[in-house]
Symmetry: C3
C-alpha cells in the first residue's frame, strides 16, 4: 500500500505540467510589471491551479473530478489559463471601480459575480448561506446593531457615569466587520507616484477587507477569498481547519478551538502530512482518515468505489439542522440566509423569544431538520457505526436543551433586574449585568454546544463550558443583589 | 548524515510490505461488507501496523523493538494480522454485549482485556495509572460529586434565588465524563434497517465515549483508544502532543497549552517533520530533538548506542513525584490509582487537608518521590546538564510552595466567609465566592505549576498564572465585604 | 515548476556534505564523553549548520547569502566547524564562570559576546533592541517593579485583610523573568559525582534561564538562544512563528495568537511544508507565500530578481513606528532600548502621561515614525497593492486611538477612585479595581491593537478585544459604586 502511495505521489507531481493552456496576452502584460511590483502575488499565483490549467481543460474532466461548475465557458477563456487579466478585467462594466490601467480596464475588488463565470453553482449556493449575508444580518438588524454599538463605541467616563457612544464606521470595520465584511465603496480617485510613473487609481472606503459577507462595489455580497486565500486559491488551504479558524476561534464561535482538541483534530494535526488535500472528489479513508471542517460541512466526499458519501455544497446549512449559535437560544436553522427581517412576538429582531420559544415562521420545520441531520450523519457513518452516530446526535440535543435552560434562567434574572429598574432594557448589551447575560449564551452556551457537537471535551466544561454557565448564573444572582443595594 | 537519512527513509517504506502474514478468513468476512458500510474505518485500519504484521512476527523482534509485550501468542493469532474479527470477537463470552452478526459473535466495545492479549504489560501498567480510574475517582468521591453537580446541574432562577439541581447522566456524559469516561451499559437490543436488511444490535447507554477511565460493559475500566486512536492505532499519533491535548488543554489542566509555548513545543512544531515518530525504541537526538509529552511521561527512550534512557511505562506516575494538579493543594503522588477512598482528617475526600497538609497515609513518601524524580531527570539529562536539570526541579518546588501558599490564603478567606454564614460550606463549589476559591487552585494554581514544570512562561504569569492568583485573592477580599453588606 | 522543485530539493540534500571543514581536536575531545553524557545535545548539534560548515566557508559566500556578518574570522576558527569547544571555551578570560574541565577551560553560559565572534552585526543590532534590555527595563523601573511585586508576591490573608508581600528572586525567575531573563550569577562551585568520576563545577544562581534579556555572568545582557534554540540553531525554527509564541502568546502580548488566526497564519500552517525556511536570502513568493513573524520584523527578504525587499535587522524596532504595547497607552517607539530611565511629568516611570500624552523626549519623532512605517510597508507591498497597505495602516491608527481612548476612560475612573480614597495609588497594581484598570490596557487594549496590526479578527472583538474594554469599563463603574458602599 505504501509502495503504491509513493508511485502515486510521483505521478501527482507531473500531470499539471502537461497542460497545453497558455497565459493570455493580457495577463502577460500584467505580469511584465507586477512580477517586480508585487512579486509575492505573482509567485503565489504561479503555484496555483489557475495558472496551470485552462477552464476548458477543467471542463473536460469527469463530472466528479471537476473543480468548475459552469456548463460552458466563454470562448475568450477557452485557450488560456486564469490569470490576472481574466479576473481583474472580467465584467468591467458592472464594476463602478473599473479604471484605466496601462491600457486595460481593471477593477481591484474581484466579486463573486466574476468568480461565477466558472463557478456559478458555488456562487449560487453561497448566496443562500448565512455567511454571504453576514454584513446585513448584523448591520440591518436593529437589535444586533446595539451590540455593535456597545462593543465598538468610544464610550466616556464623565463625573461618575459612563456616557454611551455608538460604534463608528472605522472601528466597526476593524472589529465585527473584519469577519462579517465591510461595505466597500468607491469614493473617488487619486493620482499616485509609482515605479512606473504617475498613475490614477480609484479610492475605496472600508478597504482592505476580506469578510465573508462583504458588500462589494458592484453591489454583490460575499467574498470567496476569506476561505479561498488569494492568489493561490489552494483547495488544500480551504480544506484545512486553519481557514475556518480565522473567524471561528473566539469565545463566541469556538468551533476551531473545539475541533483542535477533538479526536478528529488530533488525528488531523498528527498525520495529515500523509493525506491528500488536493484530490477532487475527496475519498474518505484514502485521502484522509479524519474529517476537517470542510469534510463535514462542504466538500464532495466519496468512498473508494466512488460512491458519493456527501454532495459538495457551499450552502453549508444543507447539513445543519440546528443553529447552535444561540440568539440567545440555539434554534432550528433559519429558512432564509437573510435573517435581518426575523422578528419575534416581542418585536425583537431575534429568531427566538426571550422565553426560548423559536420564532417558527422564519425557521426550518422538523421534517427539514431531520433531512439535514440525515445528510450530516452520512458523513459520520463513513467511519462510525449507526449507534455511535445516533448516540452522538441525541447527546447534542441534550446539550442544546441544557444550555438553553441555563440561558433561560439568566434571562429570567435579567428580566427581574429590568423590571426593578436596576438596569435599562433599551440596549440589552451595555450595562455590566447585561454583558454577563450576553456571555451566558454568546460565550458559554455556544462553547458548550460546539463542544458537544464536535467532541471538544473541556470547552463543554471548564473552558467556557458548563462550569461557566453555572458560575455566571451565581455571579448574576449576587450582582443583582448588589445593584439593589446600590439603588438604595 | 542527511544522505543516510534519505536512504534509511527509503528502506522504511518497504519492509512492512514483506510481511508473510495474511488477513484471517473471519476478518475478510467483515471487510466484505464493511469496506462499503464504513469505508473510513477500513481504510484507516489498512494503514495500520495491525493490518500488516502478525503478532507472531511482532514477537520475533529484538526485545527493545517489540511493540507487543506478550510472551506467547495464541495459535489462533499466529498466522494472521490483527483485523476486525481478531479484536471484535475476542473474549466473546466475557462481553455482555456480544451479539450474533452474520454468523459471528461480535462485541462493539473492545476493552483493555481484549488488548491485553498482545499488550498485557501495558494494560497492567495502565490499570495502576490514575487515568484508568478516572471514572470512579470522580464519581465515587462524594466531594467531587458535588463539583460535578454544580457544574452540570440544570439550576433554576426562581423569585430571586438560585435553586440548585444535581447533574444528570446525560449531561455528565457530555461534560466531565467525556474525558473521565462514562459507564457504558448494555440496555437491551433493537432491530435496525441496514443496507444488508434487518439486523439486531445491542443498545448501549452512555455511548459513544472515549474517556480514559471508561467503565466497559465487560466490567473492565479504562480505554486504550483515547490515546491510540482507532483504527490506525498510530504510534505517531499517540506520541504527538495533540493526543494529550484532547483532555489536557483546559484551564484546569493546561499541560498541552503550556507545552505548546515551551521551547520543547516550539521545536516540535517547527521541525518535527524531520523526526521519526514510528521507531521503537525511540532514540533521543536521532529520532527527535525535543521531547513530546510521551517522551517524558511514557515512552521507551534510548540513546544512539541503544542504552536505555527511560523504560517504557503506561503507569505514568512512575516518573511523577508530585501531583501538580492541586486538590486543592499540589501534593505527593497518591499511592493507589484508585483515589476515591482517600479521606482527610476533616472527613473530606481530599488528598490534603484544607490547611494544606498532605494526607500522608495515602500518598507516596519522600524516598519514592526522590526515586521518581530521578527517573524523570534521566530523560532531561539526555539533553541538559545536571545543574540545569537540578535548577529546574528546585524552581518547580518553589512554584509548588508559592501556589499552595496562595491557595491557602484563599481557603482561609473562604473559611471566614463560611464561619460568618455568608456562604454555605455544604457544597463548596456552588456559590459565587466558592467558585472563585475553586479557580484559585483549579485554574490559577494548576496553570502556574504546569508552566513551571514545562517552561510555559506566560501560563505562569498573565495567562491564568500568578497574576490571576493575586487578582482573585484581591477580588475575593472585596467580594467577602460585599457579601457582608448584602447580609445586613 | 514542481519538477524543478523536486530537483532542487534533491540538490539541497547534498551540498552540506561537501564541506571540507573538520571537527576540531578540542571539540572531538568534548564529543568523546558528551555523546554518552548528553546524547540529545550532540545529535542536535550534528544536525546543525554549525557542525557542517566552517566560518571561513561561510565567509566565502556571496554577501546576501552569508549567515555570518564578521568581516574576518580568527585563524583558530578557519579550518574547523563550530563545535562544543569553539563556543564554550571562547573568551574564557571574560567569563567568571570558566572552570577547568578535563583539561579545557570551559564556561556554561555562552553569551552574545561569544556569538559576536562570527555574528557581530546581529549582536550589535540586538543590543539596540528592547528585548535585549528586557531584564533592566522591568526590574530597574520602580513602577513596573510594583507590578512584579503584585503578581509574584506571597500575599497573605489575615483577619479580613490582604497583607502585601513583594516578589522574591525565585518566584520572579519562574514568572516574569522566564521571558525577560534572569540575572545569572556565579555563586561558588561544587563537586559532583559523574559517570567520569568526581568533577568540580561552578554553581549558578537563577539558572536555568533563556529569557531574551538575560544578564549573563560575563556582564553582557541578552541571549541568542531563546530564538535560536540550542544546539541546532536552526534558522527554520527561528523563522517559524512558534519561536516567537514562546513569549508572545499571553493576554498581555497575544501576537502569536493573533497571527495564528490571521490569513497569514492560516496560509503558513496550511502549506508551509512547501516553503523553504532555510534559504538566505529569503525570497518572497518563491520561498514562502505568506509572512511569518520573522519576515515582517527581522529577515532579509528579496524578490526573485534578488532585489532587496527588506534588510535583515535584529534591531526589530527598525520596522516599528509604534509601540503597540501600551504603558498604559500605545505610543511612538522609545528612542533607546534601555527604557528604565524614562520618566513622565508626574514622576512615573512611564513613556506616557496618565492622560495619554506621550513623553516625547524619550520617544521617536514623527519623521522617524514615518521612516519606519515605510520600511515595514515595503514588506507588505511585496504581496499587496498600495491602497490595501495604506488602508491597513490607517485602520491601525484608528484602533490605536480607540483603545487609548478607552484606556483613558478607565484611568479617569481610577483617578476618581484614588481621589475618593477608595483605593491606594501607592501601588497601582495591587487592589482589585486597579487590576481591572491594568487589564483594560495590558490585556484588552493590547489584544485589540495586535489584532488590528495583524488581522486577528476576534482578538479585536470578543477574544479580549473591544467587547472586553467595554465590559471592563462598565464593571469598573459598578465596582467604584460598590467600593463607595463598602467605604461607608
Amino acid at each position: 500500500m505504501k509502495i503504491i502511495r509513493v508511485v502515486c505521489f510521483l505521478f501527482t507531481l507531473f500531470p499539471l505540467a502537461l497542460s497545453a493552456a497558455e497565459i493570455s496576452e493580457d495577463t502577460l502584460g500584467c505580469l511584465d510589471c507586477h512580477e517586480y511590483v508585487t512579486p509575492g502575488i505573482v509567485a503565489d499565483w504561479e503555484a496555483s491551479r489557475h495558472a496551470l490549467v485552462s477552464p476548458v481543460e477543467g471542463l473536460a474532466k469527469d463530472l466528479l473530478e471537476r473543480r468548475i461548475s459552469a456548463i460552458e465557458i466563454a470562448d475568450t477563456l477557452s485557450e488560456t489559463v486564469v490569470g490576472c487579466a481574466e479576473c481583474h478585467t472580467m465584467n468591467a462594466e458592472s464594476h463602478p471601480g473599473s479604471f484605466e490601467h496601462n491600457g486595460y480596464t481593471v477593477h481591484t475588488v474581484v466579486s463573486p459575480r466574476d468568480c461565477a463565470t466558472c463557478h456559478p453553482v458555488e456562487v449560487d449556493e453561497y448566496r443562500d448561506n448565512l455567511m454571504s449575508q453576514a454584513y446585513g444580518n448584523l448591520m440591518y438588524n436593529p437589535l444586533y446593531q446595539k451590540m455593535v454599538d456597545a462593543a465598538n463605541g468610544l464610550h466616556e467616563y464623565d463625573s461618575g457615569s459612563i456616557v454611551f457612544h455608538g460604534g463608528d464606521e472605522a472601528n466597526n470595520a476593524d472589529s465585527c466587520l473584519s469577519c462579517h465584511g465591510t461595505e466597500v465603496r468607491i469614493t473617488g480617485s487619486e493620482t499616485r507616484e509609482t515605479d512606473m510613473g504617475e498613475m490614477d487609481f480609484p479610492t475605496l472606503a472600508n478597504w482592505p477587507n476580506i469578510g465573508v459577507g462583504r458588500v462589494n462595489p458592484d453591489g454583490t455580497v460575499g467574498s470567496c477569498s476569506p476561505c479561498h486565500a488569494r492568489h493561490q486559491f489552494s483547495i488544500e488551504v480551504a480544506r484545512k481547519p486553519y481557514t475556518c479558524a480565522q473567524c471561528h476561534k473566539g469565545p463566541d464561535v469556538p468551533a476551531a478551538k473545539v475541533y483542535s482538541v477533538s479526536v478528529h483534530g488530533n488525528i488531523q494535526k498528527s498525520i495529515d502530512k500523509t493525506w491528500n488535500f488536493e484530490s477532487v472528489p475527496w475519498t474518505v479513508g484514502t485521502d484522509f482518515t479524519a474529517p476537517t471542517c470542510a469534510t463535514c460541512h462542504i466538500s464532495l466526499v466519496v468512498d473508494e468505489e466512488g460512491e458519493i458519501v456527501a454532495e459538495r455544497s457551499h450552502r453549508m446549512n444543507d447539513r445543519l439542522p440546528w443553529r447552535l449559535f444561540g440568539l440567545p437560544y440555539a434554534h432550528p436553522h433559519p429558512i432564509s440566509a437573510d435573517t435581518s427581517s426575523i422578528v419575534n412576538q416581542a418585536g425583537l429582531h431575534l429568531p427566538t423569544e426571550l422565553s426560548g420559544e423559536p420564532v417558527s415562521e422564519f425557521l426550518i420545520d422538523a421534517a427539514e431538520m431531520e433531512k439535514r441531520e440525515e445528510t450530516m450523519k452520512k458523513v459520520c457513518l463513513g467511519c462510525h457505526g449507526s449507534q455511535w452516530v445516533d448516540g452522538h446526535f441525541k447527546r447534542l440535543e441534550t446539550s442544546i436543551a441544557a444550555t438553553n435552560h441555563l440561558t433561560l434562567q439568566a434571562t429570567k434574572l435579567l428580566s427581574d433586574v429590568w423590571e426593578q429598574g436596576l438596569a435599562n432594557a433599551e440596549n440589552p448589551f451595555d450595562e455590566a449585568i447585561e454583558v454577563m447575560w450576553t456571555e451566558q449564551w454568546l460565550f458559554f452556551g455556544n462553547s458548550t454546544r460546539f463542544a458537544s457537537a464536535m467532541g471538544g471535551t473541556d470547552y463543554g466544561v471548564f473552558d467556557n463550558g458548563r462550569w461557566w454557565q453555572h458560575k455566571n448564573l451565581q455571579k448574576m444572582h449576587d450582582y443583582r443583589q448588589m445593584l439593589q443595594v446600590l439603588d438604595k
